[in-house]
Structure formats: structure tokens, C-alpha cells
């Protein structure tokens, strides 16, 4: 498969008071075009990702908003799949390239989340759950149910959950774009305020502003990372209709597709940016992606097997937990980060894993150095 990452750009992630949603899109689009050393008219189509700009910013019709940045106003579409919006926009762009309709496209995602209060943000995020079947749920509450089952079934401990947060905050210290540059120890995470038992404040990814963009092309380019596999799968929107509460089936299916396309095994991947919207989500991810057997993810994390220098480096960027989680941008900024590492020759293969809601949507990408 010939899909190359011709250009990539991430904004700083955080509470970006001076920047509006449109400002974030402008910075990402200009940044990626400059980085790719392309002329704007070479962009044939645009794929825009955002979860909830209507609710957060009272702005919809984002495809038109972004297309008008270009004099030639390329065709554009907006894609929404909760926290997997960015991953899904990448999939749509890849399908368009593989179909032969376009040769060079832009994928951009953004979310401006910090202009609303905490309860309103919680309410907007809960729209990723079933309004009918999960009334009263919150996003942390749903992952708390998954955590409770994982802890009961496999003996995953409070300390193991905290180890995810400690590692990702530590790794974010080397990422200048990360929202947080603050280390925590196990005790600080384990004693932070309860949000939805057993998940505490420092188990949760933050509310973030940010944007990210990539230019994908089917034209062969030397010394640029290549997408060699992708997968996309679904599960039931509500937890009650899931076959199991101790694995995310959509992640497993998306991973199988991506690995088959790439002709790789999980053991050949040494760098992974996974969807750690909560600490328990990273433990689910590293098991469902095949890096560790089911029930072993907590132990492996506490043992340092997912930290820099470990068996597989997970969320070297800081992940959603410390790099930040500007929802519509997240799946794209993961790809930007992995492409950066590949181009700097720091690994041979990298993987990204982007999840929507409590696991109803999953997107996996695998990239190689060339």
C-alpha cells in the first residue's frame, strides 16, 4: 500500500485561551503545508475531524470552514466518531486515496474544549454514550465500570492503574507540545480526588484545546513514513450489550485488520501511541492490541515494560493523559507523533490506536519508516 505521510503538524495542546476553534484549524493547516513543502493548490480534498464543535463552540459546517482557507476551495467533509473522529477521518482519507479519486489530501482535526465549565464539558462528553440506554452515565463512569470488572477478574490493582499515569506524565516531560509537564508519584495519583470509583482525577485525561494535521499522498516520496496497515471496527454503543466488559472487541478486530494488512505481528512493533483516555484504557489497549496477554497489562506497566527502554514503548508522547486529549485532533496527533519518531529513525514500525466512546469505535494504524 502506497500511502505516505507527506507532511505533519501538531499545535501545542492545553488551555489555549488566545486561540479560537478557527485559529486552531488555521495554525494546523498552515503548519502542515509548510512542513510538507507543498503548494496549497496541490491539496485535492480535505477531511475534517471534530467531535463536538457544535456544543463546545456553536460552530458546525466545519468542512466549509476549513475549505475556505484555500483559494481553490477543495472538496471537504467533516467526520465525527466521538473520540475516534481523528482516526476515522484518516480512514476516510486513505480510502479516497486507495480508490484513486485523489492523490494528495489533507486530514485535519481540532477541538476547542476549554470555553465551557466542567459540568457542561462532562455533559458534552457523555453524548458519546447512548442517550437512551445509558442515561445518567458519564465518560469516566463508563470506564470505571470497565475498570471494576478488570480489577475483579484479573486482580488489577490501584497501584497498577496509577503506574500508567506516572509513566505517561514522566514521558510527556520530553514533549514540548504536551499539556502537562509535571511528574506525579504513585501515591499522588492513588490519593487524588475520586471522580467515579475506582477512577480518580489523575486517572483521567484532561479537557484540552488543540489541533493536528497530516498530508497523505499516494505519490511515492523518499524518506517519508508510510502507512502500511489500518483497521476499523465497531462494538455496541452501550456497555450492557457488550459480549464482555473485560476487553474492547472493536480494538481487537481493528488490530487484526491492521496487522494483516501490514503483514506484521504485535511483537514487531516497538512504539505505540494508544488511547489512554483513562489509565484503565491503556491497560485494556496493550492487552487488546496483543502486546500482553489478557490480564497482564497492569503488571507489565508497573514493571516498566511499557516505558522508554521497555518491551514496547507506549505513549512516549505522554498519551492522552499528559500530552492531552483535544478530541477531534487526538487520532491525528497520534499519527503525527509516530511519523515524527519514524522519520527521526527512532524505530522501524509504529502503531496508533484511537477509540471512540467507551470502546464502540476503534481505529488502528501501523506505520513504517519507508
Amino acid at each position: 500500500m502506497n500511502i505516505f505521510v507527506a507532511g505533519r503538524y501538531s499545535t501545542k495542546v492545553g488551555e489555549l485561551w488566545d486561540l479560537s476553534l478557527a485559529d486552531l484549524f488555521v495554525e494546523a493547516v498552515n503548519g502542515v503545508i509548510n512542513q510538507a513543502e507543498l503548494e496549497p493548490p496541490q491539496i485535492e480534498a480535505v477531511f475534517v475531524a471534530s467531535k463536538a464543535a457544535g456544543e463546545f463552540n456553536h460552530q458546525l459546517h466545519l468542512n466549509a470552514l476549513v475549505s475556505q482557507f484555500f483559494k481553490h476551495q477543495p472538496p471537504a467533509m467533516r467526520i465525527e466518531g466521538a473520540c475516534a473522529s481523528g482516526g476515522l477521518a484518516l480512514i476516510a482519507a486513505e480510502q479516497a486515496l486507495l480508490s484513486g479519486q485523489y492523490k494528495t489530501v489533507l486530514v485535519v482535526g481540532a477541538e476547542k474544549m476549554t470555553d465551557v465549565g466542567a459540568n457542561r464539558a462532562t455533559e458534552i462528553l457523555s453524548m458519546a454514550a447512548s442517550d437512551d440506554l445509558e442515561r445518567g452515565s458519564t465518560f469516566p463512569g463508563l470506564y470505571a465500570l470497565l475498570a471494576e470488572r478488570h480489577m475483579a477478574e484479573f486482580g488489577t490493582t490501584r497501584e497498577q492503574l496509577s503506574a500508567v499515569a506516572v509513566k505517561n506524565h514522566r514521558q510527556a516531560l520530553n514533549n514540548p507540545l504536551a499539556q502537562f509537564h509535571q511528574e506525579f508519584n504513585l501515591e499522588q495519583v492513588s490519593c487524588s480526588p475520586m471522580i467515579a470509583s475506582p477512577l480518580r482525577l489523575l486517572d483521567c485525561s484532561p479537557i484540552s484545546d488543540g489541533a493536528a494535521a497530516v498530508i497523505l499522498t499516494s505519490k511515492k516520496i523518499k524518506n517519508k513514513p508510510r502507512i502500511i496497515g489500518f483497521g476499523h471496527a465497531q462494538d455496541s454503543l452501550d456497555l450492557a450489550h457488550r459480549r464482555t466488559l473485560t476487553e474492547l472487541v472493536a480494538t481487537k478486530r481493528a488490530t487484526e485488520q491492521a496487522l494483516a494488512m501490514a503483514k506484521l505481528t504485535p511483537q514487531e512493533i516497538s512504539l505505540a501511541e494508544v488511547h489512554d483516555c483513562f489509565t484503565i484504557a491503556e491497560i485494556f489497549a496493550i492487552e487488546d492490541l496483543g502486546f500482553f496477554k489478557k490480564g497482564d497489562g497492569g503488571r507489565a506497566t508497573l514493571a516498566g515494560e511499557t516505558a522508554v527502554g521497555g518491551k514496547v514503548v507506549v505513549n512516549q508522547s505522554g498519551g492522552l493523559k499528559a500530552f492531552g486529549h483535544p478530541i477531534g485532533a487526538t487520532g491525528i496527533k497520534q499519527l503525527v507523533y509516530v511519523a515524527d519518531q519514524l522519520e527521526q529513525d527512532r524505530c522501524q514500525y509504529g502503531l496508533t490506536h484511537n477509540v471512540g466512546g467507551s470502546g464502540a469505535t476503534a481505529v488502528v494504524h501501523i506505520l513504517s519508516k519507508q
Binding site: 445518567g136 458519564t138 465500570l145 471494576e148 470488572r149
Partner: protein, 100 residues
């Protein structure tokens, strides 16, 4: 505030009779301390996955009041008012579970 819309409430409430009074067992439980704006006055509250005996169905439901629930608890489906700030709009009742 994101209270339920009257039209949604009317459609959903027509189905409640099939679950009201049903008993079951909690198979996963959390206690939500930070709620969304529609349920902020109800917090803290239990939120659980329940396996219902009679209808052989799994369902996600809030617990009544501030009652704590845990996996294995035997519960029954009941109707309870959802506390809201709106004094003149819809008075929302919600299907919840109470410990037996």
C-alpha cells in the same frame, strides 16, 4: 442544562412498564461523584450494569438517591424523580435500581 427533551421522555417512558419491578443482580458498579449538568443535583449516585432475572437482559441504570451499590447486590427496578433546577418544565422520573 441538558434535561431530557419532553418528546424523548414521552417515547422512552412508554417502555418502562416492561422493566418496572424486575429484579436482578449487579454485575458491575461505580459511584459517580462528578456528574454531567443534567444530573449534577443527583450526585453522588451509583451507576451499575444489572442482569435482570425475568427479562434475561442486561441494562445500565442509576441507583436510587445516594445509595452505594456493589457487584453481586440484588436490586429491583423502580421509578424515581431526577432532581432538577427547572421549576416550571418537565418533572423527570428515571428508571433506577434500589437494593433489595
Amino acid at each position: 442544562m441538558n434535561q431530557i427533551k419532553p418528546a424523548d421522555y414521552w417515547r422512552q417512558s412508554k417502555r418502562w412498564a416492561q422493566w418496572l419491578g424486575c429484579e436482578g443482580r449487579v454485575i458491575a458498579a461505580t459511584y459517580i461523584k462528578v456528574a454531567g449538568s443534567a444530573h449534577v443535583l443527583a450526585a453522588p449516585y451509583a451507576y451499575v450494569v444489572v442482569k435482570l432475572d425475568g427479562v434475561k437482559e442486561k441494562k445500565e441504570l442509576m441507583g436510587v438517591g445516594h445509595e452505594r451499590l456493589q457487584t453481586g447486590d440484588k436490586v429491583r427496578c423502580v421509578l424515581r424523580k431526577n432532581p432538577g433546577l427547572d421549576q416550571i418544565g418537565l418533572i423527570e422520573y428515571v428508571l433506577k435500581v434500589a437494593k433489595i
